[in-house]
Symmetry: C2
Subunit: 321 residues, 2 copies
């Protein structure tokens, strides 16, 4: 029997519930429950479980690893929100806002340790490899966040550097999730590598479309006001490519005050369209998506087993249409 | 051949050097090198190595675990210094002061992952048990720091709660170091437990003597101005015991301003002496020390192997005399 996406999602919520209950509601653990209960798409644990079942008849074996990666991901959110001074996450107060910064630091630290505790619950033949993979990717996520922060104070960030930053900050953990599923299932090295590549390219495609939609998306479909990145001069793919092509006059205007925020957003979008950067970012995201799907197709297992995973991957990448 | 303490210390410095060199000097890793180079007594890694050699002829096998615990300990210092708003550590600027808070958060996170990377380098038969021990004790350290922070806003902290806090925040990691050495050496469960207990009780004795010396030590011997805890109304064993015994009048005076800092220190010390709290804390620290030594004596191995470890333990506890 192949697990459906909805079954996988039920498992994840069930495992999160059990996770909350296994730790007391103390000032250290309460913020962890608070953040996890804010919700999220739970993409990473779903990818662990769906990748695992390509090769293994006991899908429940991958549940601890799936939960571990979701807890780790939320640890990064807790600490990133402090560093970014973000007041809200999914419309709710962030942990450092609702509690305080010290609590967000310490509860985040505890969460990272909990992620390792969950990893150890894994009935894996090669736990060593699993933890080494996790360590490497976790460290890359830190390097990505460090790069992202360093971009704020720089005026010479290249598009290439930006792509490397989002790869490290976002995409490697998506790749890690898919490879972890394969590892727990004792899949071949080749299959592990295809799934890792699928996740990483999917993560890149997803982030680039996020940049595109923040500027050019329909606010009703995207679910938020667009133009936020432009107003914040955020160094996205679109912004960096615009800087590399704009005339000196346009660059000067970009760095001077506009009469209204609306004027800034519409002017900058016009320039981006003029230089065809809107089409370009969609095209690059599309190339990554195609490559992600190809890696998934190259995985050597029963084709029907791939269906839920292909469905999820396409659903995540659909926003590009 | 039994490793001497000085040989052990050479190994630790050598391994720290190699550790620095294995990571690039980027904004993420540079602060880690900075903090580790500030120095420290390197007690925890020495305890790993000296505990390991009680049972095993290949002392080098415990080097990665020894380094892991030193890196983890320094991670806790980096984050604790942010939370405590500490400007200095060993006379040098703390990481969040020298760089900034975001850097100290993120480099600390990276350090915790590095500690796990080092643990994985361990040629241990039961790596699973080693990591589970480390996870459990690491989480207890977070719980201890959380308790410590919560004490600041409370007026009803008991001595019992204080002892539990220092056990979690400080002592469990000392116990963990000694048990890790035993685990890597595949020592019996009984020997592991004796070493853990030795470390934990030594950690308690050490912290209680720290409290004593901060008030009653000789500034020349202690190496710092004494009375700092009293001036900061820090909830130490001495302070909490004084609160539990003082008259209402004394308590009122304690909470009112004194004419000079010197007057506050000398008055509070006088009260502590009157209630014999100075003698009491030394006596309790001494009981923990005795018990630590007894656990070490109960370890089943060649007696002469214990000599460097007994020497180090006594050296650490000597301050009580």
């Amino acid at each position: 029997m192949t697990l459906s996406i909805s079954k996988v999602q039920n498992w994840i919520e069930e495992d999160l519930q059990n996770f909350y209950q296994s730790y007391p509601s103390t000032p250290l653990f309460e913020p962890i429950q608070y953040l996890l209960k804010i919700g999220g798409k739970r993409i990473r644990p779903a990818l662990v479980l769906l990748s695992h079942q390509l090769f293994n008849e006991k899908p429940e074996n991958a549940r601890p690893a799936a939960l571990a990666i979701e807890v780790f991901h939320n640890f990064t959110l807790m600490h990133d929100d402090i560093m970014d001074k973000a007041p809200l996450r999914r419309g709710q107060a962030t942990v450092h806002e609702r509690y305080n910064t010290n609590t967000a630091i310490l509860s985040g630290d505890a969460m990272m340790i909990q992620a390792y505790q969950l990893l150890m619950k894994n009935p894996c033949h090669d736990q060593h490899q699993l933890i080494e993979l996790f360590n490497q990717k976790a460290l890359e996520v830190c390097i990505g966040q460090d790069l992202d922060m360093s971009f704020e104070g720089r005026n010479d960030v290249t598009v290439k550097e930006y792509l490397e930053m989002i790869r490290l900050k976002t995409a490697v953990l998506v790749g890690c999730a898919m490879k972890m599923g394969a590892l727990v299932a004792c899949a071949s090295k080749e299959n592990q590598d295809h799934l890792y590549a699928c996740g990483e390219e999917m993560g890149l495609a997803f982030q680039l479309m996020d940049d595109y939609l923040d500027a050019f998306g329909n606010p009703e479909t995207v679910g938020k006001q667009t133009g936020g990145d432009i107003l914040a001069d955020k160094k996205t793919y679109l912004y960096l490519q615009l800087l590399s092509r704009a005339t000196q006059e346009e660059k000067n205007k970009l760095q001077s005050p506009f009469s209204t925020p609306e004027e800034k957003v519409s002017t900058v979008k016009e320039w981006m369209r003029y230089y065809k950067i809107d089409e370009e970012v969609k095209s690059i995201a599309n190339q990554y998506s195609q490559s992600a799907i190809e890696h998934l197709q190259a995985v050597d297992c029963h084709t029907e087993k791939k269906e839920p995973l292909i469905h999820l991957v396409k659903q995540l990448l659909e926003r590009q249409a």
